[in-house]
Symmetry: C2
Subunit: 159 residues, 2 copies
């Protein structure tokens, strides 16, 4: 086992600081802002993968099984992550200008978790289906529906 | 199976467009820029989770087993994702100002993949260890080392 000394810790800290700099607010951000940044990065990765699959489903982009399966695999991995540390109290749209997460996501926590499970199920179904274009087309409605089900209730509309 | 009609596709597209807007460049970005944004979001999520674990290892933040295990679980999920669609050709630091991924990441592809497997192994070991503070301290050096091993060779230094 690697022993933990001051040098190791400093090295890890440096790596963290460098990596964090890609986020708005960077490593000097508050814990709350870091949590909001992480949520938005996670949502952005949903969008990246769903954008690939949606483009193929619509026929805007030619279907490619390897690309579709990689996107669906990553989507399923993202949707089944715990994300527990992202949703810290004090990070709702009432608390922070940079947050669009409505306060009822915390007060109606169990329903919000149910909705996140809905996305996880739809994403895993997409992973199982993405080996064919017909499979992607059959699975994408449920994924988009699961995104919308949560956004409609727990995300502040664009002003 | 849900049938795919114009309404479904439009709904999914709307969901994608809204979600993508959180990224710099948003939904009008080129495929190359979207790939760079996705990589940077993914790196940011490594950083978020590693920041939590590093803070506990250093003693800056009090150790909490639930928080540590959630961070380690998400870190392991992220590190074992394929990410294949992020690394599209034409998105190196020679191609794009917004990219710090050196061209040798593509020419030395097999070594880069080996290094990514090193991070996956270290992250899974962290997941298995994060139930105690001693476990976090024992596992974090290898995670930070794996970050650095790739960054040192394949990431453009900050100018």
């Amino acid at each position: 086992m690697m022993s933990l000394n001051k040098h190791t810790i400093l090295g890890v800290t440096a790596a963290i600081f460098t990596a964090t700099a890609v986020f708005a607010g960077g490593h000097n951000a508050s814990p709350e802002q870091k949590a909001v940044n992480a949520r938005q990065a996670h949502m952005g990765l949903y969008s990246f993968n769903l954008g690939i699959l949606g483009g193929m489903a619509k026929g805007d982009v030619e279907y490619n099984a390897d690309v579709a399966m990689a996107a669906a695999s990553d989507l399923a991995a993202l949707a089944t992550m715990t994300q527990a540390n992202y949703w810290m109290p004090g990070t709702s749209s009432d608390d922070m200008e940079s947050s669009r997460a409505l306060p009822n996501g915390w007060t109606d926590y169990e329903d919000a978790i149910e909705k996140s499970k809905g996305l996880a199920m739809a994403a895993v179904a997409m992973k199982d289906a993405a080996g064919t274009l017909e499979g992607v087309r059959g699975a994408i409605g449920a994924v988009g529906g699961a995104c919308g089900a949560c956004h409609k209730v727990y995300r502040k509309p664009n002003s």
